[in-house]
Symmetry: C2
Subunit: 438 residues, 2 copies
Amino acid sequence: MARPTPLSGFPEWLPGERIVEQHVLDTLRRVYELHGFASLETRAVEPIDQLLRKGEIDKEVYVLRRLHAEDGDAGLGLHFDLTVPFARYVLERAGHLAFPFRRYQIQKVWRGERPQDGRYREFTQADIDVVDRDTLAFHHEVDLPLVVLEAFEQLPFPPMVMHVNNRKLAEGFYRAVGADDPSVVLRAIDKLDKIGPEKVRAQLAETGLSATAIDACLGLAEITTPDASFADRVRGLGVRDPLLDEGVDELVRVLDAAVTRAPGRLVADLKVARGLDYYTGTVYETVMTGHEDLGSVCSGGRYDALASDGKTTYPGVGVSIGVSRILGRLLKTGSVVSSRSVPTAVLVAVDDEESRSVSDDVARALRRRGIPTEVAPSAAKFGKQIRHADRRGIPWVWFPGDSTVKDLRTGGQTAADPAAWTPPLEDLTPCITEEKPS
Amino acid sequence: MARPTPLSGFPEWLPGERIVEQHVLDTLRRVYELHGFASLETRAVEPIDQLLRKGEIDKEVYVLRRLHAEDGDAGLGLHFDLTVPFARYVLERAGHLAFPFRRYQIQKVWRGERPQDGRYREFTQADIDVVDRDTLAFHHEVDLPLVVLEAFEQLPFPPMVMHVNNRKLAEGFYRAVGADDPSVVLRAIDKLDKIGPEKVRAQLAETGLSATAIDACLGLAEITTPDASFADRVRGLGVRDPLLDEGVDELVRVLDAAVTRAPGRLVADLKVARGLDYYTGTVYETVMTGHEDLGSVCSGGRYDALASDGKTTYPGVGVSIGVSRILGRLLKTGSVVSSRSVPTAVLVAVDDEESRSVSDDVARALRRRGIPTEVAPSAAKFGKQIRHADRRGIPWVWFPGDSTVKDLRTGGQTAADPAAWTPPLEDLTPCITEEKPS
C-alpha cells in the first residue's frame, strides 16, 4: 500500500492536537453538566425525506447505499446538523423524556460541501438546547447564552463576543415601517456585511419599501451596544409597534443579565438576522476576536416549533458551537498547543529486559494513585529512554535501579518512593496553552 | 410530522442510559490514559478500495453519494471497524508519530448487516493498539490484555473472561502433524463451538489429514487452563516443533503475568482461532459471564503487518471492545442503571418569577464549587418543583427563601449556606449500579 494522502475536507488531528480537542470538549461537557444539561447522542443517519424538509441545503447531504444491496439506496443520509436529529428524537421519545428537557450533544456532522478554509465535509458540533412542551419560559433565552459564554471563558480561545438580536424586535419594526413580508427585509439586512448598505438599499427598494422606511431599517441595523442602551436608540427612530416593544423588552433582559454575568462578551447587534426562518425570538451569533473572517463560530436562537407531531408542539432555544471551525483555525496557526502528545506523566525506565517486572511494579504503584505512567518499551541505553520521554513531552522519568525520578525540564533528579511520590498536580494532565502571536 | 419510529439496527439511548454509556466510556478512557495510551479519532470515511482490501466483508460497507452530485459515488464508504482507518492513519502520518505508538480510539462504526440481537448497523467500538516500526517487542502482547482486564474490573459488568491462544502454537502444531495449510485447520477448529467435533472431524478428513493427526488437533483444541499448566498438556500430546515451542513459551508468559495481575480473568484456550488471517501471535477473545450467547465482546491479537508502505512495515497488537454489544444487552435487561437521568445534583427552587435571580445566585455559588445545579424552570408550587427533581432522580432541592436544602431520599431538610454547603461526594455524579437479577 502506497503512502496515503489526506482527504480534503475531512480533518484529522495528530495526537497532540487531539489532546487540545479533548480539553475543549471536556471543558464544554463539564460546564454544560454543571448547568444540568444531559448528554445525548443520536444515530448518524436520518431518513432522507426528513433531512430534505428544510429544502435549502439538499445538495449537501451524503446519501448512503449498501455496496451490494439490490434495493439501491437505503433511504438514509448522514445528518448535516444536530438540530434535525434532536427534533426527531424529541418526537420519537417524548413519552420517555421529562420536560423542559435540557440536553447537550457533541457529535460529528457531514456536509458534501466544497471544502475551503473553515468549511469541512466532516466536522464536530457542540449543541445545547432547552426544549419544552407547548410553551417555553423566556428566561431560558437569557440563561442559554450565559452558559456558553461561561464555557468560552474557560477555554484557551481568543475572546468570543456574542452578537444578539431579537426576531420580534426586527419583525415588529419592519412591519411597522411598511414591509409586508419582514423575512424579505431580514434576508437583505443579513447581507449587509457582505455587500454593503448601498446594495442592500437597492434590494429593499425593489420590494417597494419607501426611502424613509429603508432609512429606518438601515438605521436600526447600525445599532450595536454593549448594554441595554440600544433600547433608547431604537425608540429614537420613532417607530412604534407592540411586537417591536416586546422584542426590545426581551433583548433588554438578555443584555441586563450579560452586563453583570459576562461583561464585555455579549452585545446587542440589531443587524444580526440568522438566515433560518424558524427563529422566533432571541437570535445569537458569535465572533472570535481576530478571526472575524471565519464568520459566526457559535449561533442559534429561539424557535417556537422545534418539532410538532400535530397534537403537541415543542418550542426551544438552542446554540451550536462549530468546534472544528474554531480548532481548525487555532491548531493550524499554532495558537493553542499541548505540552505533550501523550497522557503520560511518568516514563519508568527499564534497566534490562530481565528486570522489566520491577519497572512494571513501579508503574502500577504510580497508576494506583492516578498518575498516568508508561514503562519504557525497551531496555535501551538510558539516554535513549530519556529521549523517548522527551520527544513526547513526558515531564518525568523514573529510574527503578536507584529509585530516583528525574524532571526533564529542570534536569533535577531526586530519590523517591513509588508508593508515595506524586508529581505536581499540574503535571498529571497535559498543559494546554494559548500561544500569543509575537 | 407524524411521530417517527426507531430505525432497526441504529440504537439510541435515553438520557439515563446515555449516562451509563458515558460512565463506561469515561472509565475506559481513564484506564487507557493511565497506561499512556493517546486518544485518536479518524474520519468516518475511507476510500472504498481501502475498505474492500479485506474482501470478505465487502457487502457490509455503506457507500456515500452526494445527493445532487453529477459524479455519482464520491468513492468513499463508512468505516466498518477502527483497524483499517488506524492502519491508514499510521502510514499517512508516520513521519509525525513517535514509535512505538500507543493509541486508543473510541468511535462509531457502521455495517450494513441485517440487524439482530447484539448486531447493529451503527455501533461504538473501543480499541487500543500498540504499533511499532519494523519490530514490536513481545511484552506488549502480555501488557495489552491486562490493561483491558483492569478496565473491565472497574466497570459495572458481569465478570469478563478473556480466552487466549497463540497463532505460532497452533500453526506449529498443525504443520507438525501434517497439515500443509494450517489456516484451513484453524478455520475448521474455529467452528467447533458451532458445529461440534464430529463435523469438524469430517471437514478435516476432507483436507487429507490422517485420523491420528485429526485426533491430535481436536485434542489440542480441548485444552483450556486458568494458568500455564496448558504447556504440560500440550507436551503430553507428543508433538514437537520449534514454532510450536515458541508459541507455547509466549502463551506461558501471558498466563504467568495474568495469574498474579488478573486472577480468574484470563484463561489459555487452545481452540480460540479468530477468523482473520493477519494475526501472527497471541490472539484474544472475551466472554461476558452469563451472556455467552453474545459471542466474543472483546477481541484482538498480534499482527506482524498492521500496515506497510513497501519500505517500512508496522507490526502491532490490539484489542477491540464491542461497547454497543455489551451495553445493548445490559441496558435492555436493566442489568445496569443510573440513579438519575441528568447530571444535576441540586435543583434550586424558585419562590416567584420576580426573585428568580436569587435562585440563580444560589446556583452560581454551588456550581463554583463543582456541584451540578439547575434552577427550577418555573415558580410552580413547591410540590411540583420537588416532583421535577424527583422525576429526574435529582437528590437535593434547595429552597432559597429560608436557605434550606432537602434530601429527597430521606426527606430531611436542614439550613445551609450556598457558599459553603456541599453534598456527599458520591452525590456529585449519578450513581451507576449493577442490578443483580433477583
